[in-house]
């Protein structure tokens, strides 16, 4: 596919906004606009103007159409249901579960990209899953009596599990994973909003669940890479959930800095977030990156300098946002 130069694209923006281009031109313009903020803004303006034209045609649709249209929408979305914290967690628990069965002997001692062994990662996730079970009241007592302070807990659980064979650690993890699946399945929307103690502060249960699902992905990937098993892309609908959490966290962190940045994540599950989320006004900068890459950065497995991305507008704001995003490494 060819490329179109800026001036040629700009001349075609009016036609493009009116869907009056040939198909091949439209594709070229769409690609250009993704990387050119000037055209992106002008296109938005021209589309806005076109939509005013549309208001002249208002016409009441037939009464039955309301239910037909809404029904079709509901049906489509339910056949590909959007991700939820529960579905994300369950899916990622399942994925780890599946790979655990395929690991044997020396592979447990394989060292992953962060320096931990595969066995140690399972112990780490065991510490996390059991902590959430404690916080959700899924167990009467903490099976490790290791406290709720994260770092200390991980150290304690890892030390305990070092004395066990990997299959025993896996069994313990599976027990906790089973309890976790059950409790998370039972959570109502109100429950998801309820705050629980977390990392010295509090967090809504929904976020705790999504964070653990995120962590499961990152660590399962660590294990897969250490064992030469290749990457496994999360489902689009779950990338969407993780990206939404990442955008919210970034929004909170960028609050009060006085600048605004648009986060554009491309690929299935991606989306666009003007940050901070609760403000408004024009953005000073735009950061565009692939959704999986960005989540990998948030997960602490990609350095900002290595993230493939495009920056528009004030580049110092983009650099600052990337540095901030990199500090979230949950893992």
């Amino acid at each position: 596919m060819g490329v179109i130069d800026h001036d040629t694209a700009a001349e075609l923006l009016g036609a493009y906004a009116l869907h009056a281009c040939e198909d091949d031109e439209a594709t070229l313009i769409a690609t250009h606009v993704e990387g050119c903020e000037t055209c992106d803004i002008e296109l938005a303006r021209l589309r806005e103007a076109a939509s005013w034209l549309a208001t002249l045609g208002n016409s009441r649709p037939p009464d039955g159409l309301r239910e037909t249209a809404l029904g079709a929408a509901r049906e489509r979305r339910s056949s590909e249901p959007p991700g939820t914290p529960a579905s994300l967690l369950t899916d990622h628990l399942d994925r780890l579960d599946a790979i655990l069965d395929t690991i044997s002997g020396d592979e447990w001692r394989a060292v992953t990209r962060t320096g931990w062994t595969v066995h140690e990662f399972v112990a780490h996730l065991l510490a996390g899953a059991s902590l959430i079970n404690v916080e959700l009241g899924a167990v009467d007592a903490d099976p490790f009596d290791a406290g709720t302070e994260w770092e200390a807990r991980t150290v304690t659980v890892l030390a305990q599990e070092a004395d066990h064979d990997p299959p025993d650690t896996v069994a313990a993890w599976r027990r906790q994973a089973h309890l976790l699946r059950q409790s998370v399945d039972a959570l109502t929307p109100e429950d998801l909003r309820r705050e629980i103690p977390w990392f010295g502060a509090t967090a809504p249960i929904g976020d705790v669940v999504v964070t653990h699902g995120f962590e499961l992905w990152v660590h399962t990937e660590d294990v897969r890479l250490a064992l030469g098993r290749g990457r496994q892309r999360p489902a689009d609908r779950h990338l969407a959930v993780m990206a939404e959490l990442a955008a919210r966290l970034l929004s909170l962190a960028l609050h009060g800095r006085g600048s605004r940045i648009r986060l554009v994540l491309t690929g299935g599950g991606g989306g666009t977030w003007p940050l901070p989320l609760d403000g408004d006004g024009a953005s000073d900068a735009v950061l565009t990156a692939d959704v999986v890459d960005f989540c990998t950065l948030i997960g602490g497995r990609l350095h900002p300098a290595d993230l493939a991305h495009s920056a528009q507008g004030d580049e110092t704001i983009v650099a600052d946002a990337l540095r901030t995003a990199a500090t979230f490494a949950f893992t």
Binding site: R45, L46, A49, A54, L70, R74
Partner: protein, 193 residues
Amino acid sequence: MSLLPSRSTERDVELRARLVAGDEGALSTLYDDYGSFVFGLALRVTGDRRAAEDVVQEVFVRVWERPALFDPERGSMRSWLGTLAHRRAVDHVRREEATRRRARREAETSWSAPVDIEDIATSLALADRVRSAVDGLPADQQVAVRLAYFGARTYRQVACELGIPEGTAKSRLRLGLRRLAEVLEPEGLEQWA
């Protein structure tokens, strides 16, 4: 069913959040606010009630499937819905053209008033404002924009039908929309509900 809600970024942002969160009430509200808008546009472009109904359905299915694609910073909800609807309506027209000989449809020469308006005074005032903005365009831009938007012509077809070079057609479309944008931009129109 209201004609159109007033343009409000806050409302758009809130609707987006609710749609993303899976709040079905938000989708119903969206239909109540914009159903006539989407249907009317699709009807004007396709000239076919069944096709217009299909477009409405496709648009609301799409909105519910991928609400995160709506970018409040790049335009209003109305603009997003209008773009989704217009593209689908144009695609329908072009598919029809490709499969059978179509009767040449005249370019719109009159702006017929909307039907079944609840708030007549407000909607007519709104339509008047938009109508007068469009009438205020230089004639050559007006004709070109109308042909492309309501007539579903490509800019090449516009150039051909008007006997002008392609570059001129592109230019009239761009300038025409820019002029409309300038005249109709928020300040003038936010107050009209």
